[in-house]
């Protein structure tokens, strides 16, 4: 086991942690969603990289090729990509509504507005 054989996992982990950092460290809601999208793409890499066989080809049966890369992760990740964009669209719709309700999309200001509202109601 050398560094080169696990290089793909290293890249995946770097992207995953970067996405996670953007989600938890940045207050702007749209940027959080972008960080979430980055996190999701790192998971795609996590699934597809182990399926690749060096010397193989894309999993389309054709004469002349004997070794194919694994098609099963491709199927799962295809579904995951489409579901990911669906959730991104829903998240953005919610952000638009938040913006219309609070007039801001910074998480700190929204929390402060909520706390002020609670204080006023008490």
């Amino acid at each position: 086991m050398s560094l080169a054989s696990h290089y793909a996992y290293g890249v995946t982990i770097l992207l995953m942690v970067a996405g996670l950092f953007i989600v938890i460290a940045r207050g702007n809601l749209v940027k959080k969603l972008v960080g979430l999208a980055i996190f999701q793409t790192s998971v795609y890499l996590l699934y597809i990289a182990p399926g690749k066989l060096i010397g193989g080809t894309a999993p389309i049966v054709a004469p002349g090729f004997a070794v194919y890369s694994n098609p099963l992760p491709h199927v799962l990740i295809l579904t995951a990509i489409v579901v990911g964009v669906a959730t991104l669209a829903l998240g953005l719709a919610i952000v638009v509504r938040i913006r219309e309700a609070y007039d801001t999309i910074e998480e700190d200001e929204i929390l402060a507005a909520d706390q002020a509202e609670d204080e006023r109601q008490r």
Binding site: A58, I60, L78, I81, V82, A86, A89, A93, V96
Partner: protein, 143 residues
């Protein structure tokens, strides 16, 4: 962007090719990369391009809201309908072998219709979401 001549001409050249490419991707999904999802997204992207260059009301006239909404639901119905057809013809739900006398042809038929349903729903949803987002900022003037 409505008045810019270069953009209008280039868009008029591009959009038919994009739609043609989407159809190619859809039907060629069995022989090469492609399939329903990619084709649906490319169709939606072509209409989005039209809306960006010629304005949202023109796009709404070209692909009205009713059509888009029926596409959104229709694709899922096509997919489920293939499954029910499998039931009615004597097999299990979503069983493609019974769709034709030759089971392999039945598979191909089933896959064709299923991918078509997927493409219809995906393009409908992407386009509808774009319409909702783009129409929200300036709603009172043009619907």
């Amino acid at each position: 962007m409505r008045g810019d001549l270069v953009l209008r001409v280039v868009a008029k050249l591009f959009i038919p090719f994009m739609l043609l490419f989407a159809l190619y991707v859809q039907f060629h999904g069995e022989l090469g990369p492609g399939g329903g999802f990619q084709a649906g997204v490319i169709i939606a992207a072509a209409v989005v391009l039209y809306a960006l260059i010629f304005g949202l009301p023109a796009a709404r006239r070209l692909v009205p809201d009713r059509v888009v909404e029926s596409m959104v639901a229709g694709g899922v119905l096509i997919y489920a309908g293939v499954g029910v057809a499998g039931l009615l013809l004597g097999g299990n739900y979503l069983d493609y072998f019974v769709l034709d006398r030759n089971p392999v042809h039945g598979q191909e038929r089933g896959i064709f219709w299923v991918e078509a349903g997927v493409a219809v729903t995906v393009s409908g949803v992407m386009l509808k979401i774009f319409y909702m987002f783009a129409g929200r900022g300036r709603d009172p003037e043009d619907v």
